[in-house]
């Protein structure tokens, strides 16, 4: 038998068993202590495994990355101050990647939230709603690599005069346009937009599902009241539904902002940053493994983290506000 299979089975059975034994055993130990110590110690014992993982895999490495970004390359790096950041902000490729990430952020967020809202409102009025939602939601379940393959076929490009096998070029061909090399066109950052379209295809379902749930949570009496007052469908949407969806739209938007900042798989798979499509995360990957400069790669990661901090603050504030309502 494959020794890896044995390990996997051991882990699947063993780790939960150890954790249960740990909770059970520590409970026994706690009860030996004086009573007032129970409530003081027990919570920390229950939190310890999570705290250990979070500390080791998220907090510690984040701090180390910030420190590493102030050092040069090599195994015994010297302190170089802000040189890595200076490199990042004065470098043509990094600037291009940053610009692409801004495009990702704006267009992916606007289109997924906009389309998600549109679809949620439309399907709310048809009887085959669940079917429509399933189809639009489905791309979210597959990997970005698989989505990349799907769209590699969609965007396939053959020289003019030969029958186009890519769906997109064939369709615009019927209107006498193209063919266009969608994934090989740096001009106007066309390839970046082509990849943003893929992610819109993937993530609209996410926005739709959440917005649709919020839509169903709106008290029908409010809508009815507006209709009785003589509002038409558009006015009802504009003045009642939309404002009530505000918090939900904010949540979906923050998720999309984070997704767009972290974009990696699609770009790595389809163009690997060629044709002016590089993004921050792919730049970092290449600094790590092609260039081997962990100092610069760390600086790139810190830039990404700093870009996400406002979102983090927003999330925490929203969470606090919700907790007060509990």
């Amino acid at each position: 038998m494959d020794p890896r299979l044995v390990t996997a089975i051991e882990v699947v059975v063993g780790v939960p068993a150890i954790l249960v034994a740990y909770i059970w055993g520590t409970e026994r130990l706690v009860t030996l202590l004086p009573h007032r110590w129970h409530t003081r110690i027990r919570p920390w014992l229950w939190l310890a495994p999570t705290a250990g993982f979070l500390g080791l895999f998220l907090i510690y490495p984040t701090i180390r990355t910030v420190l590493r970004s102030l050092q040069g390359k090599g195994l015994t790096p010297r302190f170089v101050g802000l040189a890595n950041y200076r490199w990042f902000f004065t470098n043509e490729t990094a600037y291009s990647a940053l610009l692409n990430n801004v495009l990702w952020l704006v267009f992916l967020t606007v289109f997924t939230v906009g389309l998600g809202l549109l679809v949620a409102v439309l399907v709310d009025r048809v009887r085959y709603e669940s079917w429509a939602k399933s189809i639009i939601f489905l791309p979210l379940a597959i990997s970005m690599v698989a989505a990349g393959v799907i769209w590699k076929f969609m965007y396939d490009y053959k020289p003019a005069g030969v029958p186009q096998t890519g769906t997109v070029n064939a369709v615009i061909g019927t209107a006498g346009l193209g063919p266009v090399g969608w994934l090989q066109s740096p001009s106007l950052r066309l390839s970046t937009f082509a990849m943003i379209a893929i992610m819109i295809w993937m993530w609209t379902g996410f926005a739709m599902v959440i917005i649709s749930a919020a839509l169903k949570g709106i008290d029908p009496a409010l809508i009815e009241a507006a209709r009785i007052d003589g509002a038409n469908e558009w006015q009802v949407f504009r003045k009642v539904t939309f404002p009530l969806l505000g918090p939900t739209l904010a949540v979906v938007s923050t998720t999309m902002v984070i997704t767009s900042l972290k974009t990696f798989d699609i770009v790595y798979t389809l163009t690997n940053g060629n044709y002016d499509t590089d993004v921050i995360a792919n730049l970092m990957y290449n600094e790590m493994f092609s260039v081997g400069d962990f100092g610069r790669a760390s600086a790139v990661a810190v830039v990404l983290l700093v870009a996400i901090v406002p979102v983090m603050a927003f999330n925490v504030r929203r969470f606090r506000a919700q907790e007060e309502l509990r």
Binding site: V11, V15, W151, M154
Partner: protein, 299 residues
């Protein structure tokens, strides 16, 4: 107000034409929804059809020419995928990676979520805010130090490395979702259990866990899909040290990049990788949606 009077006047004027207008609007609505459905389905359907087409025709004609008779579908691509390039092995690797990396964070998070929901201790709220903040930390910021750590431990290239990493990365969301669900269970249930002499261990296993089954299901689906579909984590912690252990996503990414004669394999390989997520999606869609909505909206 005059508005009331005018709408009444309008109503009586408009009424005869209203049904027709409404019908026209319904037609428009159905057309719009159908167009959206088609637009979203075509890419996947195209790939599905392509994966069953013969190698020679794949590069000379579009997939839509294959859906009209005469039919020339073949299973040859799928057979080739299993024979070649270690894709079968990569599929097995993906399973090896995804199953433990789904179960471990679930168990770890359950205890923490219970403590956050039903135990009183100083600093509870602050700690939970830290978890909320960690939800959005990009995993890119953690790659280099953890790679170093794994190298020191001698586990780069092994499944253990990705199991540990995925547990760490998955925990904030797992704790967040489970705590929201557990915290919304009725307090009275736990109080009466405590009066009957149940300690926290008993309440956890007898009350909290059974009542949270839908949340566990949603979370398991989520974490499974996240790990199964992941590229970056396995590329970094496994990729360089031991390519034999790479999951399907990484093998496929290589196939796309080094597109020698692999074009015909690509469609079949992609569908092979999509098979499990799609099965999970169609079988457990309700839980999946609940996971997304519960994680993002309720709070």
């Amino acid at each position: 107000m005059t508005a009331v009077a005018t709408t009444q006047v309008q109503k009586s004027v408009v009424r005869p034409t209203r049904p027709r207008r409404r019908r026209r609007r319904r037609v428009f609505l159905h057309l719009a929804v159908a167009a959206l459905m088609a637009l979203w389905a075509v890419p996947t359907v195209g790939l599905l059809v392509s994966s069953f087409r013969r190698q020679e025709v794949l590069s000379t004609s579009g997939w839509w020419t294959a859906i009209a008779p005469p039919y020339h579908f073949t299973m040859e691509n799928y057979r080739a995928v299993f024979d070649q390039q270690g894709i079968g092995q990569a599929f097995v690797n993906s399973l090896f990676i995804a199953i433990p990396a789904t179960i471990i964070p679930l168990v770890v998070a359950a205890f923490a979520a219970y403590a956050f929901s039903w135990m009183e201790f100083p600093g509870r709220d602050v700690l939970f805010v830290v978890v909320v903040a960690l939800l959005v930390v990009p995993l890119q910021t953690t790659l280099i130090p953890i790679l170093r750590l794994f190298a020191d431990w001698g586990i780069t290239g092994q499944f253990t490395a990705v199991w540990l990493a995925h547990t760490g990365y998955g925990l904030p969301f797992a704790v967040y979702l489970l705590r929201n669900f557990m915290g919304s269970l009725p307090r009275s249930v736990f109080e009466s259990a405590a009066i009957d002499g149940a300690n926290h261990v008993t309440s956890f296993f007898r009350i909290a866990v059974p009542m949270c089954v839908p949340a566990f299901a949603a979370l398991a689906i989520f974490q499974f899909l996240f790990v199964w579909n992941d590229l970056l984590v396995s590329l970094i912690y496994i990729g360089l040290a031991n390519p034999d252990n790479l999951p399907l996503t990484a093998t496929m990414a290589n196939l796309v990049n080094s597109l020698g004669g692999g074009w015909y394999l690509l469609a079949a390989a992609a569908f092979l990788s999509m098979f499990l997520p799609l099965a999970v999606f169609f079988g457990l869609q309700r839980y999946f949606v609940r996971g997304i909505v519960g994680g993002a909206v309720k709070g």
